[in-house]
């Protein structure tokens, strides 16, 4: 639908913060308790001179099937602010890693029943996966079952204390 007679002054009053706030409502399609802003994949938001908006996203995993879908969600969300031209692109100019997830984002992962990723110094070692804290009972007496889970970003673990299998957002 083409919106005509749109008030230009409304566009002009839109600030970068308004856009970020809108993007904070775009949730990860695979983990609906974390927004793409808290996930750390919104790399750049720019309001151009012609009041078009450019958003640059950085992918979590190169093979993530949700990428295109997230681009569409971003376009729709910003479009709802009345901005007609929204340019969304995904780049590898910066490399996403799990340290970029915000505190609020880590809480969101827990809400979804996922053990959050441990902070790392840029180099993920296997021991980061060996004693992951169980999101159900808090025990660290856990075992890595498989570094691969139901989505590319998750690994599967088992808690030897509460005897539950659980998933972990793996550090990259």
């Amino acid at each position: 639908m083409v919106i005509t007679n749109f008030k230009y002054d409304l566009w002009e009053s839109i600030k970068r913060e308004d856009i970020i706030r809108a993007l904070e409502e775009v949730m990860d399609p695979e983990i609906p308790t974390i927004s793409i802003v808290d996930l750390g994949i919104v790399n750049e938001v720019k309001i151009n001179d012609d009041y078009s908006v450019s958003v640059t996203l950085i992918p979590t995993f190169a093979g993530c099937p949700a990428l295109k879908h997230i681009e569409d969600l971003v376009r729709d969300k910003i479009g709802m602010l009345g901005i007609r031209t929204v340019d969304v692109k995904t780049t590898f100019d910066e490399q996403w890693n799990t340290n970029m997830i915000t505190e609020k984002g880590l809480e969101g992962l827990k809400k979804h029943g996922l053990a959050p990723p441990e902070k790392h110094d840029g180099l993920v070692r296997i021991n980061l996966l060996e004693k992951v804290k169980c999101p159900n009972c808090g025990s660290k007496n856990t075992t890595l079952n498989s570094p691969f889970g139901p989505t590319l970003c998750r690994s599967i673990h088992y808690c030897n204390d509460c005897l539950n299998a659980f998933e972990h957002f793996k550090p990259v």
Binding site: A62, C64, N145, S146
Partner: protein, 256 residues
């Protein structure tokens, strides 16, 4: 940066062989979907497949910016001779021992390749390489665990792993078939070259084999399976491409 014709051809050749290896081994890994010996392995092979095919797509994306066709067209419409993958990735999945050993040998070569490329002067691949290193770490973690586990479990599993290592080693050496563009890439500091990559690969895999009590075949028996990088393939590749491209070719213009 502007590249002359020869330099651009060299970069494209490098990108094609890396992405083709990933696409084809990714397809092979995906053939375990639904068939893995245990559920976790089914998921592992499927996830590794998804990673590798996803990674190849972005490299085809760079090729597209260099004037080649779009990633889907590159992946699904080329003829056999236009593929630059090595023979190793073309082989059928065989039994689980072969698929695991292939992943082990290939993953470490790939990890070393992206390590080298993360210092490349060709910026688009340098950035992807930095990203891919982190993802491939999980692939090597998977294959390392199983190689060590199976090689040290029972006599039967040890013997099978040793046999499959002997049978696949020359195929693995084919990964490092040197390119005619080697000099140009080296001079431009785009890529150090296959020989140097092979040394790095050996430095990584030999200690792991030692801890797993496996031995790589003696150097006098090394006969790399060559030709893949020049478009000369085994009979397995056309069969794989027929299957992989079947749906796409029903209606190449379909919107997905």
């Amino acid at each position: 940066m502007n590249y002359n014709k020869q330099q651009a051809a060299a970069i494209k050749d490098l990108l094609y062989k890396i992405a083709d290896d990933q696409l084809i081994i990714g397809h092979r890994n995906s053939e375990w979907t639904g068939l893995g010996p245990i559920l976790e392995e089914d998921i592992a092979f499927s996830s590794i497949a998804q990673d590798k095919i996803g990674q190849s797509q972005h490299i085809y994306g760079i090729l597209h910016t260099l004037g080649e066709k779009d990633p889907d067209t590159i992946a699904f419409t080329r003829g056999v001779k236009e593929f630059k993958c090595c023979h190793f990735v073309e082989y059928p999945i065989g039994e689980y021992d072969f698929s695991l050993m292939r992943n082990f040998l290939f993953n470490h070569a790939e990890a070393a390749r992206f390590d080298m490329l993360s210092g490349s002067s060709f910026e688009p691949i340098q950035k992807l390489a930095k990203k891919y290193r982190g993802e491939i770490k999980y692939h090597t973690m998977h294959s390392d665990t199983w190689i060590k586990q199976l090689a040290r479990a029972t006599d039967e599993s040890h013997n099978r792993m040793q046999k499959v290592l002997n049978d696949s080693f020359n195929l693995a050496l084919g990964i490092f078939e040197e390119s005619e563009h080697y000099g140009v890439l080296h001079e431009m500091k785009v890529f150090e070259g296959e020989n140097s990559l092979k040394s790095k690969w050996l430095e990584t895999i030999i200690p792991i084999f030692e801890s797993a009590l496996l031995k790589i075949p003696g150097q006098d028996s090394w006969k790399p399976s060559l030709g893949g990088r020049k478009g000369l393939h085994t009979g397995y590749l056309p069969a794989l491409l027929d299957e992989m491209c079947e749906v796409f070719k029903i209606d190449p213009k379909a919107e997905w």
